[in-house]
Each structure stands twice: as structure tokens, then as C-alpha cells.
């Protein structure tokens, strides 16, 4: 009878609503959770990355970044305190992470440079000597210039650095030579730069034929 049917159906609809709402919530929740996890994954990666960098690569620790990250992690903890990841909180966390990333990126620039610039310039300098090895090293090092949370990249960089050192060491290079090599690479080396040490080194390394002399063009 309709009199009762109305009630039942109404209830059913309410239930449906609820369920739909629930479902809707669930999806949202899933999405939030997804975001949460994703973020967490990213943070994991980040942490792993900076852990490597700080602990293994021993770059300068940015305490701020670390504390921010710890804060961020705390934020993430709070975000699920209710039992469900709260979207807003997750969003805030995301923003925070982005900021950290930004900071890190900035910081890395410095750090990278610190870490690799001389090696890389040396390598550059000796590129003519052993291009392959230099390339190998550079190949390992240079990608790490661009910041991301790929820890492997830094491991490779480190390896590259080490290899570069080894290489340089193996070459017995000193600064004079290196400067000479650099100038050579830069096209700036002049005979002036050819001091004995350098010449000796060149001869030792049998690089005589690998270096050319050219006149400086006058700008006319």
C-alpha cells in the first residue's frame, strides 16, 4: 500500500543517498589517500635522497629543509589522525612539500656546484686526454645537476665523482696542469701556460700530439 510504500521507498532513497554520499566520500577519500600516499612516496624518496646526500654524499645539510621535512611528516601524521586522510591537510602537506622541494632545488644548485664544479672542470680539462672516461664520468655526474628525488642519480653522480677523482688522481694532475687543461679546453691556453711542469706532464701522458697550438685571432 502506497501509504507505507512511500515511507519505505523514501527510506530507501535516503539510504541510497547515504550510500552514494558514502561512496562519494570513499572516492574522495581514496583520492585523498592516493594523494597522501603519493606524497608520502615522494617524501620517502626525498628523504632517501637527502639521506644519501647528507650522509653519503656528505653535502652540507640544510637544517631548515630537514626540519621542514620533519614538520611535513608530522603534518602527514596529523592528517590521518581521524582515521581518514583529510584532504585539506593533505593539500597543505603537498604545498609544504612543494616548498621544500623548491628550497632543496635552490640549495642543491649550490651544493652541486660545490660538490662537482672543480671535478667537472678538471674533467673538462682533461677531456682531451681521455675523452671516454671523462664522458663516462661526466655522464654520471652531470645529470645530477638537475634536482629530483631520484637517489640513484646521486649515487651515480657520486660514483662518477669518485671515478673522476680517481681519474684525475691517476693522471697526477695538479692545479697548474689543470688550469692549463682548462684553458686549453676553453681555448684560452697560451704558450705562457706551458710551463715545465705542464710540459712534463704532457710528455708523461703522451698528450703531445693531442694538443694543438693556434694563433689568437685578432679581432679586427
Amino acid at each position: 500500500m502506497i501509504f507505507e510504500d512511500l515511507v519505505k521507498t523514501t527510506k530507501d532513497m535516503q539510504d541510497l543517498q547515504r550510500r552514494a554520499a558514502i561512496k562519494k566520500n570513499k572516492d574522495l577519500q581514496e583520492a585523498t589517500d592516493e594523494k597522501y600516499r603519493l606524497l608520502l612516496t615522494q617524501i620517502n624518496k626525498f628523504v632517501a635522497t637527502i639521506e644519501y646526500l647528507y650522509t653519503v654524499a656528505k653535502i652540507e645539510k640544510n637544517k631548515e629543509i630537514i626540519s621542514s621535512t620533519i614538520e611535513l611528516l608530522t603534518l602527514l601524521e596529523l592528517a590521518v589522525e581521524s582515521g581518514f586522510a583529510i584532504q585539506d591537510n593533505v593539500s597543505i602537506a603537498e604545498t609544504s612539500y612543494k616548498n621544500i622541494q623548491g628550497e632543496m632545488k635552490k640549495d642543491w644548485q649550490k651544493q652541486y656546484s660545490n660538490l662537482t664544479s672543480s671535478t667537472v672542470s678538471t674533467l673538462e680539462a682533461i677531456k682531451g686526454i681521455d675523452a671516454e672516461s671523462v664522458s663516462n664520468c661526466l655522464r654520471k655526474i652531470q645529470p645530477a645537476e638537475i634536482w629530483d628525488t631520484n637517489v640513484k642519480k646521486y649515487q651515480t653522480m657520486n660514483t662518477g665523482l669518485n671515478e673522476a677523482d680517481q681519474l684525475i688522481a691517476s693522471l697526477g694532475l695538479d692545479d697548474g696542469i689543470i688550469s692549463f687543461l682548462q684553458n686549453t679546453n676553453a681555448g684560452r691556453a697560451t704558450l705562457k701556460d706551458l710551463d715545465d711542469k705542464v710540459l712534463a706532464w704532457i710528455r708523461d701522458e703522451q698528450l703531445e700530439s693531442k694538443i694543438r697550438i693556434s694563433f689568437v685571432k685578432k679581432l679586427g
Binding site: 502506497i2 589517500d33 602527514l76
Partner: protein, 1033 residues
């Protein structure tokens, strides 16, 4: 009169045919015929001014003073007294004939050939003739022949004549036609037809044979009418299988123009053979008669005698008439061969048509004189004398008369009877200062009979004897105590006289008798006067009344009138005004003659009605029409206002219905068509009432402004009072002793109508009050949701406006109106209560035996018919309505899961519906909106439901329809619609919900809790530790 003598003598004396009366009686009753005309040439209607008396003619011609051959033809219309005159001539001649004169008198006797022959044979002169053969042939011819055989002989002789016709006759027909005619006549059907009574053969036969019934004056001829063939006859001829020639003839003779011509030709043709045929059938030869007469004359000449022959009616010689005439017309003078003939003087009576048709021209030329008897041969005095002589002769014994006759029948010796009855009665003067007492007649009565009783064309001596003298005298002799008992219709009854008589004599037949006496024997006036010491009442001497035992009544005394002059007797209708009430003294109003005539004609008709007790007034013209108007219009219109129906306790509605019905208020006793409530008996008094009404209309032009209206007004008003009670009873009653109760049916029906039309919507009759009944307003709602049966019933009720009519009846019935003038209603409150109360108490049921469905008055009957239309359908209506209602309400109950559906439930329902739609909206369940306007008026719905619910188990139809009168079904329709629509939508919703739920999946929607992120939290911790480690390191 001398009744003792008259008793015996009347049959002998009162003989219409003057033939069979004795000589003495003949002479004693003879009244001199005077207005005779003498002509030399035949003229059918002579304009000769000079008249002769019979005596003149006798002296001048009959007695043949110059002893010449003569042939005198005496003619005139039938019944004028030709035979009588000739007989008188003969008798007169006998008295004073010369010695040598032989008189041969051929009597009319039975006017047949055979009879005539017999007469001849009796004469000694005939017996003595020499030619015995002829004599014997005559003898043989005089013998009787079997009637049928003779007729057949006649018939077949005609055929023989035709067959043998060698074109010798004057009128010829072609051979072809002749053959056809023969075949035609030979045809059995034609034979039977022509042989029939009133047919030509019968006529011809009658001239030959004795003892026929055919009128003596018919001519033995074929007439064209005999041969006009009707379609019927033609059919009979064909179907009997006729000779084709006969059929052809029949067709030719069918009644159209040429047919009639042919028929005449054939009749004329055949008539040529009549004489031949008659002679042959009579066994005589034409020559025989001629021979006989010649022989007679020769013999007489031989004896030195002369012959005077009187033939009363020459038509008795039919068949041999030519021969006779030849014989008679031959003069004794003149050259002839053979023996000498005696002088012959013939006086022959004949009719006009016979003279014209049967006397050939050569005959006509030889007639020496014509004597014409005109039809008006009797003047007034002659009439009186005629009657007087008969009465006188009847009162004298045969001896006295024959003695007188034997002694030359001298007028101065004419015997006068002794007045045994009739002292004080009138006398008629005859010649020689003799007077005859005419008891039991008065001159007036003779005149009255002559003018009013004898039919036109029968105002002749023969009928005077038969229709006046004989019946009246017989009545006076044998039925004196009831005299005059003969059936005489009184023309123009004098109402005053009638009134006076009837008011003084209670016995109607005695009163009628006296009225007749005074109107016919007297002058019919209600007055009396003294003259010469005698009292005359209605111009009849007082003593005459005593003779018949009539009472003497008081009449108005007037002056004795001066003696009247002698009038010529005219035919009917210009009687000296016996009754001219329109010209009363001192009154300058004249009523036009045409109106008087109208009244008189009506009077005659109504007088007949009072005698016959039947009357046909269905015509609307003529006398019947005049009476018709009085009975159908004047009387009912008058009675309708003259009787105060309301004061008599009859509603004007009822009175009007009765007036308008096809039943008359008053019908005449024995009225052939149309019924009346009250029957007006056929009495003199009621005759007067009717005449009064007629006079009011005709003389007064529907007013009382005419002479003697004061009497009529008195009559009518008095009569009104006398019939009032009975008429009122008849109007108010349905049947004898039972009051009309149609108003109950009308009220009942109207109550039903009010309920059915939804003008009263309560469930019980308690509040059905006067206002509801009389002033209920029409239900304005255009449509309803009643069952087909209900609507069909309303439809039936409105056919021909029956419902409106019935309502009008109810609304008018209880009104105490004032002559129909006003529109305001004043209620007869007690009557209304009574009727209304009864109907309500009986719950609108009228018992079958109380119904007056066969009421004579149609409009009252209609009330029952109308009610019946309702009643016979009501059960079905209730059933159908209840069924629909039950279905509907069940639907609702089912929908609500409860049989209590009131305002609260409806309110909740509405809420629920609203919530349903709200949630549907929220849950995006696509359902159509069902508007709830129809259930806004919750109290109405509740009432509707409860109305229907209250009669679910009811079987009384009235209760049921009352419950439904407010059309609850209509009220609930929207609810039901809503329910149905909602059900659909709810189902739809359910389906959608199910689908949607399914698509939402059934996974656990219950996941909550901290376990959810346990991994992640671990991970976070790990990281945190790492980082903290980094910080610290």
C-alpha cells in the same frame, strides 16, 4: 269519429291505392280535384294559367257531349291522383251515362299485364266476341307462370331477339357489337347480375306478372345504369372465364365516358324488343289486342252501342301498349275496309315519362286532349277536406256508404257520421253547408304532418293516407291512453312550453306526450286565451285535452288572436313561426336569422338525443358542430371558473390537469366519442341547459346580452349548483370513492430527482424540508462522476421535460392561488405537511396497490409514470453507483492499508508524499511530480469516504443514492488518481534505487579506523627518524 265503426272500416277505407277501395268508399273520400289544366299538346310542365275543376272537365270532355271519337290522356307526377281522378271520372260517368254506352274500365289492380288481361276477360263484351281463338289465347296468357321460369324466358327472349335482329329496328348496332352483346348476355355472371333484384329483368317481369314488390310506377325498360360495368363485376366476369367477346363487351362498358355512352346505346337498343319479349313471354301476340279491341268495337257497333274506355294506368299494358294505342286511337269515322267500328272515347291515365318515351309521335299526334294534374293539386283546405272525408267515411258503415253511392252519390246527400268521439273538436266545411268533425285531428296537426312528417316528394294523397291519416286514426282508436304515441319529431320545440310542461309534470313520458300534443295539434305556444267563452291552450280548446286525459296546465294568458287566412301549402320549413323567442316584446335586440337557424338545428338534434339517448357530436360543423362546441368548449370553460376548486378542496393544479386532459368535464349521455367525467343525462332540462349555452355563444356572442338571457343565466347557474358536488367529486377522484393522490407520486419523484441531481446531499431525509422540496436550486456543476446508470436515469427523467413538468406540479400544487394571476406562492401549509410528511415517513415508497397509474387524466397519470421511470431504474443505479464507490473506496483503503482514512491520515499522506519527492530529488531519482491539489480539501475527502463507507453493506437503494448524492466518487477521484500515479512513480523510484544501489556496489562501506594508514604511518616514522638522525648527526 265513431271508433266502433272505424275499428272495422279503417283497413278498407284507408287504402292508398284507391283501387281496392269500394266504390262507395271511393266516392265518399273523394275530394274534388280542381287545379287541372287542359292542353292540346303534351307539355311536361305546363304553364297554362287557366285551371279547370274535375266537374268542368267531366262535363266538357269526359261526358263527350258531342259524341266524338276522343282519346284523352290524363298525366301528371306519380302519386298525384291520376288513377283516382280517372276512377272518379268513371264513377261519375257511370252515374250519368247514356243508355247505349258501354263502359270498359281497366283497373289498375296490380297494374300488370296479366292482371289487365284478366280484367278484360271478365268483361261480358269481351266474352261475347266472335274470335274464340284470340279469346283462348288471352285466356292462356292470363294463367300464372312460374316466376323464375318467366323471368328466364324474358331474359333469353331478349337474346333471341338480338340474335335475330335483321337491322329492322330504328336503333341499330353493328354485327360485331351484336355478337359481343349476345356473348355478354350469355355469360353466366352477367345473367345473374341482370336478373337480380332491382335489375331490368325484374322490372320487366313486374309488368307482366302479378305479385311483385317492384314499385308500380317503374317503367319496364332497360336503363343505361343496368349496363355500366363496375370493376367488381368485370373481375367476376373475367375470373369466371368468359368468352373473349363477352370480356370485350365488359371492358367497353366499364364506367368511363365512352362506357356510359355504350351502355345507353345498348339499353335503348334492347328496349326496342321489350314489347316483343313481353308479348311472347305472356303468350300473346301483338295483334291479339288490336284484334280484341277491333272485335269489341265491331260487336258494339253491331249492337248499336258506343264504347267509353277508362284505363287507370296505361303502363299496365306494357308490352302491348302500341297495339292498344293503335286500337284506341283509330277513329270510327274515316274510311276503312271491313266492318264498321263503334265510336270510342278513351280516357287514359299515364305518367309523364311514359308519355314522353313510349307514345310514338304518331300516337301523340292523335291524342285529342291532354289533361294535366299538377303536383300541388291540394291546397290547404283541400288537404283538410281530404282528411275529413276519410275520417268521415271510416266512421260510417259500409251500408250507409254504398246506399249513398247507389243513389247517385249526390253531394247534398253525402252522409255525415255521428260524432261519438270528437265533441268540441274542429269541423271542416264541405259543400252544401255540410261539416265534418275531424277528431282525432286538428287543422294544425294535419298541416304539421303534411309539412314536417311527409318527405319531400311524398306530399301526395297516397302518402297522406298512409303516413298521416291511417297511423293517427289507428293511434286514437287503439292506443287512446297514450295518444299521440306515434313517433313525431317536434320541430322547433318551444322551450318555454317545454319548461312549463316539464316543471309541472314529473313523469317524462307524460310530459313528452303533452308537449307533442300541444306542439303538433296546437301552436306549441305556452299561452292560453278565452274566445267565445271557451278556453284555448296552445290554441287547442281545453276540452280536447280532457278527451285524451291530458292535464290542464297554467299558461300565460293572452288575447285571443284574429282568424288566420288560408295559406297555400308550401313544403317544409316555412311554418308559421311556432317558436320565435328572439322577437320578444319590449326587446330591441334582434338576433340574426342565421343564428336562430343554428339554434333550431341544434335543438332538433338535441331533441332527437332526448329520445334516442345517443348522439354523435364529433363533427365540428352543422348542428352537431354547434353542440360539439358547447360540450367541448363553452361548458368546460364555464365550469372551470364557476366552480371554486380551491374552496372545494381541490388544488388548482389538479383542476387544470383535468381541464386540459382529453376527458371532458361533461359528456352527453350516449355521446359516441369522447369520455366525460360527468354524464349529462338526455333529459329535457339538460337539453335546455345546452341550448342556453349555445344561445350564450351564438346570440350573445359569449355574453348574456341577448333577449331572454336572464332565463338562460338562471338555468345555467341553478344547474351548476345542482351538479357541483358530483362534478367536484369526479374531478378530485381517481376512481369511484378513491381520491386522486398523484401529488404523492409527484412529490416522491421530485424528491428522488433532487437527490439524484445532487441538490440535496445529506444521508438521511431528516433535513429534507419544505425549502428543499420547493426551492431547491439547481446543481450548477457541469459534470459529475456518477455511474452511467445514474446519468442515464437523469437523462430519462429529462426527456420531454418530464422532470421540469413534475417539478412544476409539485411547486404549484400547494399554492393557494388567486385566479392564476399572481406569481407569488401562498402555501397550503397543512396540506403540504400532510403530503410531504407521508411521503417522507414511507421513505419514498408508494405501495403498488396505492398507485393510480391508470388514471384517466393523463397529466395525473404522468406523475406515476414519471415516478415509475425512476423506480424501475433505481435499484440498478444504486447498485452500479455502490459498486463503483466500493471499488474506489477499496482502492483507497488498500492504498492506505486501513479503513480509516480521515484528515489526519490524509495529512500524513501528504507529508509522506512531499518527503518522497524531497528525497527523490536529493537522491536524483527521476520521478514525475504528482500534484496534490486534488486532496487539499481534506474534510471533503473525508466526508466522501465516509459517505461511501456508510453504505457499503446497505441494500436500500434510497439510502445508497442519498449517500452518493453529493457525488463522493467525484470528490475521491483525484485521490485515487494521485494514488495510482504515485504507485507508478514509487515503483519507478524503487527500480531506480535498486539499479543505483547495484551500481554503487556492495563493498564494505564500513572501513574506518586506524588500520587504514598503518603502513603509511610506519613509513612516516621511519622517515622521521631518518631525518632526525640527519639533524643530529
Amino acid at each position: 269519429m265513431n271508433s266502433e265503426v272505424a275499428k272495422e272500416r279503417i283497413s278498407y277505407v284507408a287504402r292508398p291505392d284507391s283501387i281496392t277501395s269500394s266504390e262507395g268508399d271511393f266516392l265518399a273520400t273523394h275530394v274534388a280535384v280542381n287545379k287541372l289544366r287542359v292542353l292540346d299538346k303534351f307539355d311536361i310542365s305546363p304553364s297554362e294559367k287557366k285551371t279547370f275543376s274535375e266537374e268542368d272537365i267531366f262535363k266538357k270532355y269526359i261526358s263527350n257531349p258531342e259524341d266524338m271519337h276522343q282519346f284523352i290522356a290524363v298525366y301528371g307526377q306519380s302519386g298525384t291522383g291520376k288513377s283516382h281522378l280517372i276512377r272518379w271520372f268513371e264513377a261519375r260517368y257511370e252515374q250519368s251515362k247514356p243508355k247505349d254506352e258501354v263502359i270498359l274500365f281497366i283497373r289498375r289492380s296490380d297494374n300488370t299485364l296479366k292482371g289487365t288481361i284478366r280484367q278484360l276477360l271478365e268483361k261480358p263484351e269481351v266474352q261475347g266476341i266472335s274470335n274464340k281463338d284470340v279469346y283462348e289465347r288471352l285466356l292462356k296468357a292470363s294463367l300464372s307462370v312460374d316466376e323464375n321460369k318467366l323471368k328466364d324466358m324474358i331474359y333469353h327472349n331478349f337474346i333471341i331477339e338480338i340474335h335475330n335482329d335483321q337491322d329492322e329496328q330504328d336503333i341499330k348496332i353493328t354485327n360485331v357489337k351484336r355478337k359481343r352483346l349476345e356473348a355478354f348476355l350469355n355469360n353466366e355472371v352477367v345473367h345473374d347480375y341482370l336478373m337480380g333484384e332491382k335489375g331490368p329483368i325484374e322490372r320487366i317481369y313486374s309488368k307482366i306478372a302479378e305479385h311483385t314488390l317492384v314499385d308500380r310506377d317503374t317503367v319496364a325498360k332497360f336503363k343505361k345504369e343496368d349496363f355500366i360495368v363496375t370493376a367488381e363485376l368485370a373481375d367476376s366476369i373475367y375470373s369466371a372465364g368468359a368468352d373473349p367477346k363477352a370480356e370485350k363487351m365488359a371492358r367497353e362498358l366499364m364506367a368511363d365516358e365512352s362506357g356510359i355512352e355504350d351502355a345507353k346505346k345498348i339499353a335503348d337498343y334492347l328496349n326496342q324488343f321489350v314489347s316483343e319479349v313481353i308479348q311472347r313471354c305472356a303468350g300473346i301476340e301483338p295483334g291479339d289486342f288490336k284484334q280484341i279491341f277491333m272485335d269489341i268495337r265491331k260487336e258494339l257497333y253491331r249492337l248499336d252501342k258506343k264504347l267509353t274506355i277508362f284505363i287507370e294506368d296505361v303502363t299496365s299494358f306494357t308490352g302491348v301498349d302500341t297495339a292498344i294505342l293503335d286500337a284506341l286511337l283509330e277513329a270510327h269515322t274515316g274510311k276503312r275496309d271491313g266492318e264498321k267500328l263503334c265510336r270510342i272515347s278513351s280516357v287514359v291515365g299515364t305518367t309523364n315519362s311514359y308519355l314522353q318515351d313510349n307514345f310514338k309521335d304518331n300516337h301523340k299526334d292523335r291524342i285529342t286532349k291532354y289533361i294535366y294534374i299538377p303536383s300541388d293539386v291540394l291546397d290547404e283546405n283541400g288537404l283538410y277536406e281530404f282528411v275529413a272525408r276519410y275520417v268521415n267515411t271510416m266512421s260510417l258503415s259500409e251500408d250507409v256508404i254504398s246506399d249513398w253511392a247507389a243513389g247517385h252519390a249526390n253531394p247534398e246527400d253525402y252522409p255525415i257520421h255521428d260524432v261519438i268521439e270528437g265533441k268540441n273538436w274542429e269541423y271542416i266545411d264541405i259543400s252544401h253547408e255540410k261539416k265534418i268533425n275531424i277528431y282525432p285531428f286538428t287543422k294544425r296537426s294535419i298541416l304539421y304532418f303534411y309539412q314536417n312528417v311527409l318527405e319531400k316528394g311524398h306530399q301526395t294523397p297516397r302518402y297522406i293516407i298512409r303516413d298521416i291519416i291511417e297511423p293517427v286514426v289507428r293511434d286514437a282508436i287503439f292506443n287512446k291512453s297514450n295518444f299521440p304515441s306515434i313517433d313525431v319529431k317536434i320541430v322547433n320545440v318551444n322551450t318555454t312550453l317545454s319548461f312549463r310542461i316539464h316543471s309541472q309534470i314529473r313523469n317524462e313520458s307524460s310530459a313528452d306526450r303533452l308537449l307533442k300534443f300541444m306542439s303538433v295539434w296546437g301552436n306549441g305556444a305556452p299561452d292560453q286565451y278565452e274566445k267565445d267563452g271557451k278556453t284555448y291552450i296552445s290554441a287547442i280548446q281545453k276540452e280536447l285535452f280532457d278527451d285524451f286525459g291530458f292535464p290542464i296546465l297554467n299558461m300565460d294568458v293572452i288575447q285571443a288572436p284574429t282568424p288566420e287566412s288560408v295559406n297555400p301549402i308550401n313544403s317544409v320549413n316555412t311554418v308559421s313561426p311556432v317558436n320565435n323567442e328572439a322577437h320578444t316584446e319590449g326587446n330591441d335586440q334582434i338576433v340574426p336569422d342565421a343564428k336562430i337557424k343554428k339554434l333550431n338545428e341544434a335543438n332538433t338534434l338535441l331533441t332527437k338525443w332526448t329520445n334516442d339517448h345517443v348522439i354523435d357530436i364529433s363533427a365540428t360543423v352543422g348542428a352537431a358542430g354547434t353542440v360539439h362546441s358547447a360540450v367541448y368548449d363553452e361548458m368546460p370553460d364555464y365550469l372551470y371558473t364557476a366552480i371554486n376548486w380551491q374552496a372545494e378542496g381541490i388544488s388548482m393544479d389538479n383542476a387544470k390537469k383535468v381541464k386540459d386532459s382529453s376527458v371532458l368535464f361533461i359528456a352527453l349521455e350516449g355521446q359516441t366519442k369522447k369520455e366525460g367525467l360527468y354524464t349529462l343525462p338526455a333529459t329535457w332540462n339538460n337539453l335546455n341547459i345546452l341550448l342556453a349555452f349555445i344561445r350564450w355563444k351564438e346570440y350573445g356572442n359569449k355574453s348574456w346580452n341577448y333577449p331572454d338571457a336572464d332565463f338562460d343565466a338562471y338555468l345555467i347557474t341553478t344547474w351548476t349548483e345542482s351538479i357541483r358536488k358530483e362534478l367536484v367529486k369526479k374531478v378530485s377522484e381517481y376512481k369511484d370513492g378513491e381520491e386522486s393522490r398523484y401529488i404523492e407520486a409527484a412529490v416522491t419523484a421530485e424528491m428522488y430527482r433532487i437527490i439524484l441531481a445532487g441538490e440535496f446531499r445529506e444521508k438521511s431525509l431528516k433535513n429534507f424540508n419544505g425549502q428543499t422540496l420547493l426551492a431547491s436550486k439547481p446543481n450548477k456543476l457541469a459534470n459529475n462522476s456518477h455511474s452511467t446508470e445514474w446519468r442515464s436515469l437523469l437523462n430519462v427523467m429529462s426527456q420531454k421535460g418530464a422532470d421540469v413538468n413534475n417539478q412544476q406540479t409539485v411547486r404549484r400544487y400547494f399554492n393557494i392561488g388567486q385566479g392564476g394571476a399572481s406569481s407569488n406562492v401562498v402555501l397550503d401549509s397543512l396540506l403540504l405537511s400532510k403530503v410531504f410528511g407521508k411521503v417522507k415517513r414511507n421513505k419514498l415508497v408508494i405501495a403498488e396497490d396505492e398507485k393510480q397509474s391508470d388514471d384517466k387524466i393523463k397529466q395525473r397519470r404522468d406523475a406515476y409514470a414519471f415516478l415509475n421511470d425512476i423506480e424501475e431504474r433505481l435499484d440498478n443505479v444504486a447498485k452500479a453507483e455502490l459498486s463503483a464507490g466500493r471499488e474506489q473506496i477499496q482502492r483507497i483503503y488498500d492504498a492506505f492499508g486501513d479503513d480509516e482514512v480521515g484528515e489526519e491520515e490524509l495529512s500524513i499522506f501528504t507529508e509522506r508524499v512531499n518527503k518522497f519527492y524531497e528525497e527523490a530529488n536529493k537522491s536524483q531519482v527521476n520521478v514525475k511530480e504528482v500534484p496534490l491539489d486534488g486532496i487539499k480539501k481534506r474534510d471533503q475527502i473525508k466526508k466522501a469516504i465516509s459517505d461511501i463507507a456508510s453504505v457499503l453493506d446497505e441494500d436500500d437503494s434510497l439510502t445508497i443514492i442519498m449517500a452518493f448524492s453529493g457525488d463522493p466518487i467525484k470528490t475521491l477521484k483525484p485521490l485515487v488518481e494521485i494514488i495510482e500515479n504515485l504507485e507508478k512513480e514509487v515503483e519507478k523510484a524503487n527500480n531506480i534505487v535498486t539499479t543505483k544501489k547495484a551500481s554503487l556496489g556492495t563493498d564494505g562501506f564500513e572501513d574506518t579506523g586506524e588500520d587504514r594508514y598503518s603502513e603509511e604511518l610506519k613509513s612516516i616514522q621511519t622517515n622521521k627518524q631518518k631525518l632526525e638522525g640527519m639533524v643530529n648527526a
